[in-house]
């Protein structure tokens, strides 16, 4: 696949730039609440999970949020747009300390820290969720896409509700 070769031929610096742009686009998509576009960052067969660190470290399988396909991501968007009842909120996501752990020509293994701050009506902006992205990306249709995205969060206590993706 020629598109994949473009990534294969990249030097570390170029690949990093490519990833930083992808993660910036990902955050912007969610920060700007373009939730309908969010599933497009993933492959059709994918795994997206938000997991408390405690469960992750103990090997307990329960996730706070688990989607096992792009279709399930779309169902979450239906929840956000149509079925869930929740107060107005603004979430802003910051990604840093991005690292490529491995790249075998097929799967790109990436780690990054993330921080999400939340602003509610009548309240000051607060740290909402902080943790680590543990991602596996593949090339699909000439683009890097998430085959797996794990958001492992440190504070086991979620401030009230988790409505928007991280």
């Amino acid at each position: 696949m020629a598109a994949a070769e473009r990534f294969l031929g990249m030097g570390a610096r170029e690949l990093r730039l490519e990833l930083e742009e992808l993660y910036a686009d990902y955050s912007a998509c969610l920060d700007e609440e373009r939730f309908e576009d969010w599933p497009e960052f993933f492959t059709d067969e994918c795994l997206y999970k938000i997991v408390p660190r405690d469960n992750f470290e103990r090997g307990l399988p329960l996730a706070t949020w688990m989607c096992e396909s792009k279709a399930m991501l779309r169902d979450r968007v239906v929840m956000i747009r149509k079925t869930a009842v929740y107060g107005p909120r603004w979430i802003r996501r910051m990604t840093s300390a991005l690292r490529v752990l491995g790249w075998d020509g097929e799967v790109l293994e990436v780690r990054a820290n993330y921080l999400a701050v939340e602003t509610l009506l009548d309240e000051l902006t607060r740290v909402f969720n902080a943790g680590q992205y543990r991602d596996r990306l593949v090339v699909e249709g000439g683009r890097l896409k998430f085959r797996e995205k794990l958001c492992v969060f440190d504070s086991l206590l979620v401030p009230n509700s988790l409505i928007y993706p991280l």
């Binding site: 408390p52 396909s69 779309r74 169902d75 929840m79 206590l157 979620v158």
Partner: protein, 418 residues
């Protein structure tokens, strides 16, 4: 037996006037007043009640412990070498240090406080005090210091089919009679003696008074209106067969429903949230199989700190931990059975998406509880109207009732002398 609220732990009753309409009203000072909160801690959580603290599956081996809370009081539950389960205050008998600082772990054969290394066996008895005899004949504890008088404070413990309860009270009725026959049967339906398997935890801090959580689960009719997701996918509707049951005191209750014929009719035109055209993109999210006899949903509320959830194939303990009058932690422990097939396990984990802080269904509840707190707290002199289904309480063969909230407050008022 004397009245259950005449416990030595009970402090003064709050000096407040309940509205003359009785349990058909709930005064809004109930959700924020510090004196009410203090009396609840003494009379309810430290009173003659059984609080849920752990599943035995969390403590499989000797020395395994779980750090948790009853009301806002830190406690530790631990299994000893003989297999018995103990519950002690998480407070060193010396200077009050909260010695246990991890949610779960194994402590070997003893607990040691890090400050001055006072050491306790797994039953909470003091077994070691460094420098008790002094150093170079200087200092040390007085000669009449007896370690037997300085153990950790021990709570009473009761277990039933893998579930561990504890009580601060010196006198408390046996767990089985405390639950009563109706609730005991519902309890045993899920905890039937099969070994449990913990699937994981979820914890959320809800900025609302703890009683709003019980009101939420004890009121089945909100589910058919608020929870668009449940309604849209036909999982819970006001026109489906259901009932509300309580124990004889009214303190515990359960809402029960099962599958029946449903279609859009004039009778449910009131359900504005009904959107029949909804289809899941990935139907695997809702793939329930009949697992328990008769009922598809049983939400049991157990005085004073537990909700047992059986919603199709998701099973969870929801433990309420009070954090002052205006917040509580809801600690979810999702579980299944050791002998579950891989398919059933996967099904439970998938359906868990409906519950917890990000739940398709229960996120509506945590949001609405915040709206409630935001509304009631600034208006302590106003009161909520609880007249759906009448002004008293009894078991009902339908869900269009707030009867289980009234029964809860009927008992609450006796305990609180309010």
């Amino acid at each position: 037996m004397s009245a259950p609220w005449s416990s030595p732990a009970s402090g003064p009753a709050p000096r407040r006037e309940w509205p003359s309409e009785g349990i058909a009203r709930v005064p809004y000072w109930l959700y924020s007043a510090p004196d009410v909160y203090a009396a609840e801690q003494a009379r309810i959580f430290c009173g003659p009640s059984w609080s849920y603290v752990a599943l035995e599956a969390e403590l499989p081996a000797a020395g395994d412990y779980k750090r948790t809370f009853i009301g806002d009081k830190p406690v530790v539950v631990v299994r000893d070498q003989a297999g018995a389960i103990h519950c002690v205050e998480n407070r060193c008998a010396h200077r009050g240090v909260q010695f246990c600082q991890r949610h779960l772990g194994n402590t070997g054969s003893e607990f040691m406080c890090p400050y001055h290394q006072w050491t306790y066996d797994l039953a909470g008895n003091l077994i070691g005090v460094p420098f008790r005899r002094g150093v170079k004949k200087q200092g040390g504890m007085p000669p009449d210091f007896d370690p037997k008088d300085h153990g950790l404070r021990k709570l009473k413990v009761a277990t039933r089919n893998g579930v561990v309860f504890a009580s601060f009270a010196a006198e408390v009725e046996p767990l089985e009679s405390y639950l009563g026959p109706t609730m005991l049967a519902l309890f045993d339906r899920v905890f039937d003696g099969r070994e449990l398997e913990v699937l994981g935890y979820s914890r959320q801090l809800i900025p609302a008074n703890w009683k709003l959580m019980f009101e939420n689960i004890k009121d089945p009719y909100h589910a058919s209106l608020l929870h668009v997701f449940l309604v849209s996918f036909g999982l819970f509707r006001a026109d489906q067969p259901s009932k509300v049951v309580m124990d004889a005191t009214g303190r515990h209750g359960a809402l029960i429903s099962w599958k029946g014929e449903q279609k859009k009719t004039d009778a449910n035109a009131d359900m504005k949230s009904l959107k029949e055209d909804f289809k899941l993109h990935d139907p695997r999210l809702l793939d329930p199989v009949r697992e328990f006899p008769e009922y598809t949903v049983v939400m049991g509320t157990y005085w004073p700190n537990l909700i047992v959830q059986q919603q199709s194939n998701t099973l969870a303990m929801r433990q309420l931990v009070t954090k002052g009058p205006t917040a509580f932690e809801l600690a979810w422990t999702f579980f299944g059975y050791k002998d579950d097939s891989p398919e059933m396990r996967r099904r439970r984990l998938r359906q868990a998406n409906l519950m917890g802080p990000a739940g398709f269904v229960s996120a509506d509840d945590s949001e609405v509880m915040k709206f409630s707190q935001d509304g009631v707290q600034p208006y302590p002199d106003a009161a909520g109207v609880m007249e759906m289904g009448g002004r008293d309480w009894r078991e009902e063969p339908h869900m269009v009732t707030e009867g289980a909230i009234r029964s809860f407050y009927d008992y609450y008022r006796k305990v609180m002398e309010l």
